[in-house]
């Protein structure tokens, strides 16, 4: 473990930026989001979660994946793949860091169907996490065994009073650390123990800390699926995509074509299961009602995903949906409403 006075952080960022493009939560146009660091940027590491999760660094909202054009009556396909520059994300929270592992399960796990666009971004990105000093009332990462005091990623950091603690966890992390090591002093893990305990203390007071997901298993699928709770909880859902688009783990996308007049761009873009045209096919849509789409989202996160991925829920407890849903619907409410369905 290494450490460095907070006053030298700018110097550190400058050094990392010289190695690879550095992104971190910045305030710009009264919005805080991950953006390209510069010496005069307004850094907002105090902000717990950016509204937009940093998942778009690996899985962007839209991406051109192919292009075609015609020459006379001939169709020519263009290669539009571009080289991904190495980059680093600083200030990623434990929950968001875990979300990348979940996305890996989708885009990388099946070796026959690797999303190479995602893959090259993953390979080129280093995730530097920061422990959460002041968890919000909407946080429930502990439910998924994520520890805000041990935030994970390639490198974990803690900002405790005037000191930044730095700990590499992976080979990629160590690689970067090696290059900038000269700035740091050595530190001992015991130095952060008190701080970690303090964070755990706050987490123990969080309103949703006791949320239980017992019983959300494949065996209970039919009972959960056919629960009559769904109708009641989905009734006032607006079918907007807020929850999906700010969720760090949602990963559905659509493929659409755009004719620029000179060529066709084939665009991969985020989709939301809350939209009525999600899974719309030539014959129609297998999910015609709001209830079905709403149910899909939560069944996917809480039942289907863990069933297919060794029990990993497609949720990291970041609390974004709890904060931002226009009608205050969120995964916590759903989990509570369905708690007893299918419990033996």
């Amino acid at each position: 473990m290494l450490k460095l006075p907070v006053s030298k952080m700018d110097e550190l960022f400058s050094l990392i930026n010289s190695e690879r493009t550095l992104y971190m939560p910045l305030e710009k146009n009264s919005e805080i989001c991950f953006d390209k660091w510069s010496s005069d940027a307004s850094i907002r590491l105090d902000k717990l979660n950016t509204v937009k999760s940093p998942k778009d660094f690996f899985f962007p909202a839209s991406e051109n994946i192919a292009a075609f054009k015609t020459k006379g009556k001939e169709i020519i396909m263009d290669d539009i793949r571009s080289e991904i520059e190495p980059f680093a994300l600083f200030g990623v929270r434990a929950c968001d860091a875990e979300s990348f592992n979940l996305l890996d399960l989708i885009f990388l796990n099946d070796k026959d169907f690797v999303d190479t666009f995602y893959e090259s971004r993953r390979q080129n990105g280093i995730i530097i996490t920061t422990a959460c000093n002041e968890p919000e009332e909407t946080c429930f990462c502990n439910v998924f065994n994520i520890d805000a005091a041990n935030p994970g990623g390639d490198i974990s950091t803690w900002i405790i009073d005037d000191t930044l603690y730095w700990n590499s966890l992976t080979k990629k992390g160590s690689g970067l650390t090696e290059k900038i090591k000269k700035m740091f002093e050595q530190a001992d893990e015991s130095e952060i123990a008190d701080h970690q305990a303090k964070i755990s203390g706050v987490i123990n007071k969080l309103p949703f800390k006791d949320l239980s997901l017992d019983g959300f298993t494949g065996e209970a699928l039919i009972e959960k699926f056919s629960s009559n709770q769904w109708e009641e909880i989905c009734h006032t859902c607006l079918s907007c995509g807020t929850c999906t688009f700010i969720c760090p783990t949602c990963h559905c996308y659509d493929i659409q074509d755009f004719d620029t007049g000179k060529e066709i761009h084939r665009i991969k873009c985020w989709d939301s299961c809350m939209y009525y045209d999600f899974t719309l096919m030539a014959h129609g849509n297998p999910r015609t009602s709001l209830l079905e789409r709403f149910r899909q989202r939560y069944m996917h996160k809480l039942v289907y995903f863990p069933e297919n991925n060794d029990g990993a829920y497609a949720c990291v407890g970041c609390g974004r949906c709890v904060q931002k849903c226009p009608i205050s619907m969120n995964i916590v409410k759903v989990a509570k409403a369905l708690k007893y369905e299918g419990m033996k």
Binding site: A61, E136, T138, K205, P207, T242, D254, Q256, V322, P326
Partner: protein, 328 residues
């Protein structure tokens, strides 16, 4: 407020029990103190969770759309500003008046929890409304705040405390004008800027758009079965904004499609997760309509006809505006 909540609950209880209505559309208490979600209540027992407090911001009229297909009557509670939306929906035939029982309820302005967070208040556990001041308990100590400072943007430009349509009123004495000034002041400010600065301003704001459609889906005037932006046959559909142009187009067209029908309820601004002041676009249209064609407020009456579906022989020429010789 608590008394009004009691009366509202009692009214709901009474109408549900007597069978006048088969469901009640109101707000439901959640786990967090500021959580007041719109919800339907179908039995008198369920009414226990009903709540009416400073966080009940949702404009419930949106949920009345196409309730006519169901053969039942809904009791709905509407704040003064929500009744404009209901009227507009009635005049667009999106709601059938016979299928609803509208109770107008008083409102003294609703609280924007995001404004509280923006003040740096974290880990909010309890909020106690004590007249004009709020006592807030957080994970990190107690705070206080002046209520007026964290009112929703829409409440700062309140349209007034009169209900435009209702079957009966409850707690209208609660109503208190919260309007602080001219509702067009922000539009005026922007108009005074140079074209370049305005462009810069809207680029900054609209570039934040994540195209989640919350503004559209919450809007009581956006009631299309299938939005042009969702319709693959329209030629303009897209699921995300790939370029600046798409960000601009989505919001210009959305504002245009509700121009003359927008009841200025401000839900678009409230629900935008990115905090884009979308209501300004609608306000600009409202201001223009007022200036060019005479004062008009959509939803004031059911009979009112959108100025865009009307004309006058002497209407202003668009070039006069676009050449800057007219208003601005």
């Amino acid at each position: 407020m608590q008394r009004v909540e009691g009366e509202i609950k009692q009214k709901a209880h009474e109408l549900l029990k007597s069978g006048v209505v088969s469901s009640v559309l109101a707000w439901k208490k959640g786990d967090l103190v500021y959580d007041a979600a719109p919800a339907f209540f179908k039995s008198p027992n369920a009414l226990e969770d009903m709540v009416y407090n400073g966080f009940c911001c949702s404009n419930l009229s949106k949920y009345l759309i196409e309730k006519d297909s169901e053969n039942e009557k809904v009791l709905v509670f509407l704040k003064p500003c929500d009744t404009y939306s209901l009227n507009q929906l009635l005049s667009n035939h999106r709601v059938i008046k016979d299928k609803i029982y509208a109770v107008g309820i008083g409102c003294d302005g609703k609280i924007d929890i995001e404004k509280l967070r923006a003040k740096g208040v974290k880990g909010i556990l309890e909020i106690e409304e004590d007249g004009e001041s709020l006592k807030i308990q957080t994970l990190y100590g107690d705070e206080t705040c002046v209520r007026r400072d964290i009112l929703l943007e829409k409440c700062l430009n309140c349209k007034g405390k009169d209900h435009m349509v209702y079957d009966e009123l409850i707690g209208s004495e609660l109503s208190e004008e919260t309007a602080l000034g001219d509702k067009f002041s922000q539009v005026d400010e922007l108009e005074k800027m140079s074209s370049d600065d305005r462009f810069e301003f809207w680029r900054c704001e609209l570039s934040k758009c994540i195209r989640c459609n919350a503004c559209r889906n919450v809007c009581p005037s956006c009631t299309c079965r299938k939005c042009v932006f969702d319709n693959p046959h329209s030629g303009v559909n897209a699921k995300v904004n790939v370029t600046d142009f798409e960000e601009n187009m989505f919001h210009i067209i959305r504002a245009f499609h509700v121009a003359g029908r927008c009841s200025d309820c401000g839900e678009c601004t409230r629900v935008c997760p990115q905090g884009i002041p979308l209501q300004l676009l609608n306000r600009k249209f409202i201001k223009d309509i007022n200036n060019f064609y005479g004062d008009f407020q959509a939803g004031e009456t059911v009979e009112s006809r959108s100025p865009l579906f009307d004309y006058n022989f002497e209407d202003i020429e668009p070039n006069v505006i676009s050449k800057g010789r007219g208003i601005n």
